[in-house]
């Protein structure tokens, strides 16, 4: 049976999934995040494994076998079931009981040998067990590609017009930034997708200049100024220039003024059109 694995999953302390790319809540709320490895910093394989475990999908498909099985599938099966096994004149195999009931060919190989002649599916008795097993792995990979969203990859996101993007940057960014800021900007990011995220909402990590700061005046007239590390309705925590932490209860009479150096970027996010986003990314990607 291609049944989910029910051990306590994932050796080590990193656990599963971020993004809100799931209909229900994902366990990334701050209350659980203490020892979690951020989803973003996982390798592709770690993401796939973590998501497979969370979703209770079956064993990992054998990719090498699936690759061998692909041409066999295209030659023998795709005409009815579609190139990605998502159905054509024949049924989609993604949610097929035969496929989901199989781990590594032990069920599918004998099934394919016999076929389902009564439903118009021929027997593949002339193919070897190895070949049929490779087809089975190809099918499992098609299921994985659909159901395991930890394997999803963005496509080529460079769809914008660089010249238009340059015009946008000149018109909208130069009141705060100088041209130096954009020189070689693309080389600071691993991918165009990271670049797109990064220019729209720069990370605050390691760069004190992008931290939210506050000036807090207490009711007895004392003033604390520093980098905000926490703020709620009831308390604010600051680290001042000397590195000293101030924890201040927000009682009546306490005045708090907060300044976010990324406020202009937040406004940008609320207004940015898709075209402008694509164009600017296309332009910045030329600045290697």
């Amino acid at each position: 049976m291609r049944h989910p694995v029910f051990r306590a999953m994932l050796a080590g302390s990193f656990v599963v999934l971020a993004g809100f790319a799931i209909s229900q809540e994902m366990p990334t709320g701050d209350q659980n995040s203490a020892q979690q490895k951020p989803y973003q910093s996982m390798t592709t394989d770690q993401r796939a494994a973590a998501t497979r475990s969370f979703l209770g999908l079956g064993p990992e498909p054998d990719k090498a076998a699936a690759k061998r099985g692909e041409p066999l599938f295209q030659r023998n099966c795709a005409f009815c079931h579609g190139q990605q096994a998502r159905g054509a004149t024949g049924a989609s195999l993604i949610t097929s009981d035969e496929v989901l009931g199989d781990d590594h060919g032990e069920h599918l190989v004998p099934f394919l040998k016999k076929g389902r002649p009564q439903n118009g599916m021929p027997a593949f008795a002339a193919m070897s067990d190895d070949q049929l097993s490779d087809i089975a792995e190809f099918l499992h990979l098609q299921v994985e590609d659909v159901a395991n969203r930890g394997t999803y990859k963005v496509l080529n996101i460079l769809v914008g017009d660089a010249a238009e993007g340059r015009a946008y940057v000149n018109a909208h960014c130069m009141s705060c930034h100088t041209a130096d800021r954009f020189a070689h900007i693309a080389s600071q990011f691993r991918s165009p997708e990271q670049l797109q995220r990064g220019w729209i909402w720069p990370t605050r990590n390691g760069d004190g200049s992008l931290s939210t700061t506050a000036t807090v005046k207490t009711s007895d007239g004392r003033i604390a100024v520093g980098r905000v590390t926490q703020v709620s309705d009831f308390r604010i925590t600051l680290v001042d220039r000397a590195g000293q932490m101030h924890v201040i209860d927000r009682e009546p009479g306490v005045e708090v003024q907060i300044k976010d150096p990324l406020a202009a970027h937040q406004e940008l996010i609320m207004m940015l059109t898709n075209n402008d986003m694509h164009n600017v990314t296309a332009y910045l990607e030329t600045l290697h």
Binding site: Q24, G101, V154, V228, M270
Partner: protein, 536 residues
């Protein structure tokens, strides 16, 4: 044998019974869904989904005397599959002095006077997601519990003995269950979740005594149904999603269920399913005796953003133009506030309650017309994050306002499968910029917020978990923030009356009840259930 608090070491046996105290729980079916006073009989307390209590022992003048009476901490469970630690996401039920508390695969009966466990039932699952469990349903002396791998389990409410079990969906096809069933007359109504594999949603109704299936309502149309014209063909409809993973509400006078349906499949890739895609993303009115659809209103036609329309549809009556109107309102996950006539399904209000710009207008039926450019694309498309989620909103008949913990912010959505025949999610979305939680008090007759409270927070508000809301006759609004504070507001205005920091964020439903003449406030936060009342 007397068990100490926090006993629940992982046990192989399905149940541990404490012999010294056998309760006598029997819930008269006639009081199920009535205004909660000494009981809490359904997920939302009543059938209307208001999460409003008529109790007024705890009131603005004495909230500063609130004290913790007891706390029940779940221990010995450890990490669940894909979930690092247990988090209470249920609304506990209370009947006959016994509280019923759940997390995935686990159900406890607790003595409401002490928080001590009376019995514990553990299910060994064979699949399904362990992401959350909303709680049980109860009828006479039977408790109904849904498992991650889609079993309806009936248990003796007094002993935890299993009476029968019934499987209603295949976990291998990524169906999984987190819901609380809803008991209406002689029906146990069960919803289902799961959108990784393009399966259709449904509601099942079971006989409370025998577990026999009474009817099934599918969230997408089948052969011969006129609604099929909102799909390219029958196959896409049969793989179109529309999960029913949150409990609905019920009007006994009209004998209608109001059920919210989830997102369309494939989730982010809509190019293979042109059309409105009924009845996903809708509020549907169903006859509980037959499962027949009386009317529908689609809140997100042709959804491509996982807008998952599963927030509670709240029922209330209001006098409009001198006539009493029977209404249903929902703060939808797509960022719209909707108020409908619950007899006919005709809309009165359809208005954004968070900043959004993805629609070009409303159809004559009042349904938003999405702008195609805002769909997920290969290059990325900016749209809102989910404006709310499963966490419970509330309505106060005293103020006439609907309360919702909303989320404001944006995300970039990418299409990762641009083929003509996408499958599964087919895309991703990740928030960009600051995402903030805003408590809103919305007038359901206008859709406008009468007051708002922005929760200050350096961190982004999680869009998939968040604090639920309860209101009371004494003008209290009880909820929490994302920084471990339980907060009581004045329901008629943005004024904080009381707060208390606990060990985790409020994570399940907040309930209140009278026990031995004393009003309690009860809520789950992380792995612990807290019971509060006034100091003596």
């Amino acid at each position: 044998m007397r068990l100490v608090n926090g006993f629940c070491a992982a046990v192989a046996a399905a149940i541990l019974a404490v012999t010294t105290h056998v309760p006598h729980v029997f819930l008269d079916p006639n009081i199920i869904g009535k205004a909660p006073i000494t009981t809490w009989t359904t997920f939302n307390g009543d059938y209307r989904g208001q999460r409003y209590s008529t109790l007024n022992q705890i009131r603005p003048a004495n909230v500063n005397r609130l004290e913790q009476r007891w706390v029940f901490k779940i221990t010995g469970i450890g990490a669940l599959r894909g979930v690092p630690a247990p988090v209470i996401k249920c609304t506990p039920l209370l009947v006959g002095g016994v509280l019923y508390l759940t997390i995935p695969d686990h159900l406890w009966a607790l003595d409401a006077r002490t928080g001590n466990p009376l019995w514990h039932y553990e299910w060994v699952d064979h699949g399904g997601h362990l992401i959350g469990q909303r709680g049980v349903a109860i009828w006479k002396s039977t408790v109904y519990f849904l498992t991650p791998d889609n079993w309806l389990v009936a248990l003796n409410a007094n002993t935890g003995q299993e009476l029968w079990r019934k499987n209603y969906a295949d976990a291998r096809k990524q169906y999984f269950s987190t819901a609380a069933p809803l008991v209406v007359k002689n029906h146990v109504i069960v919803g289902v979740g799961g959108d990784a594999m393009d399966m259709p949603g449904f509601l099942d109704s079971f006989d409370p005594v025998t577990g026999k299936l009474q009817w099934t309502w599918w969230s997408t149309p089948r052969k011969g149904d006129p609604a099929l014209k909102t799909w390219p063909n029958e196959t896409t409809s049969e793989h179109g999603g529309g999960m029913t993973w949150m409990p609905g509400t019920y009007d006994p006078e009209l004998n209608l269920l109001y059920w919210p349906t989830g997102n369309t499949n494939p989730v982010f890739a809509g190019q293979g399913r042109p059309g409105a895609n009924l009845w996903t993303e809708s509020i549907v009115a169903l006859n509980p005796d037959t499962g027949q659809l009386k009317w529908y209103y689609q809140v997100s036609p042709h959804d491509t953003h996982d807008f998952d329309n599963t927030t509670a549809p709240i029922l209330f009556d209001r006098v409009v133009d001198g006539k009493t109107q029977r209404l249903v309102a929902q703060a939808a996950r797509n960022g719209f506030f909707v108020t409908l006539d619950r007899v006919s399904g005709k809309y009165l209000v359809m208005k954004p309650y968070v900043p959004l710009d993805y629609f070009s207008g409303l159809t004559p039926q009042g349904e938003p017309i999405p702008i195609p450019d805002k769909d997920p694309t290969v290059g990325g498309s900016i749209n809102i994050v989910n404006a709310t989620n499963w966490q419970a909103p509330a309505y106060s008949p005293k103020t006439g306002l609907v309360y919702v913990n909303s989320v404001e912010g944006k995300a970039i959505y990418y299409l990762t499968d641009d083929t003509a025949q996408p499958s599964g999610y087919g895309g991703t979305g990740d928030s960009i910029g600051h995402v903030q939680r805003v408590l809103q008090a919305i007038d359901p007759l206008t859709g406008k917020a009468v007051w708002k409270h922005v929760y200050p927070n350096l961190n982004n508000a999680p869009t998939t978990v968040g604090p639920s809301i309860l209101t009371t006759a004494s003008n209290l609004l009880i909820t929490g923030d994302d920084q471990k504070n339980v907060i009581i507001y004045s329901a008629d205005k943005d004024q904080i009356l009381w707060h208390h920091e606990i060990s985790a964020n409020e994570s399940g439903g907040v309930i209140t009840y009278l026990l031995d003449g004393k009003q309690y406030i009860l809520f789950g936060a992380g792995d612990s259930l807290y019971a509060w009342s006034l100091s003596r």
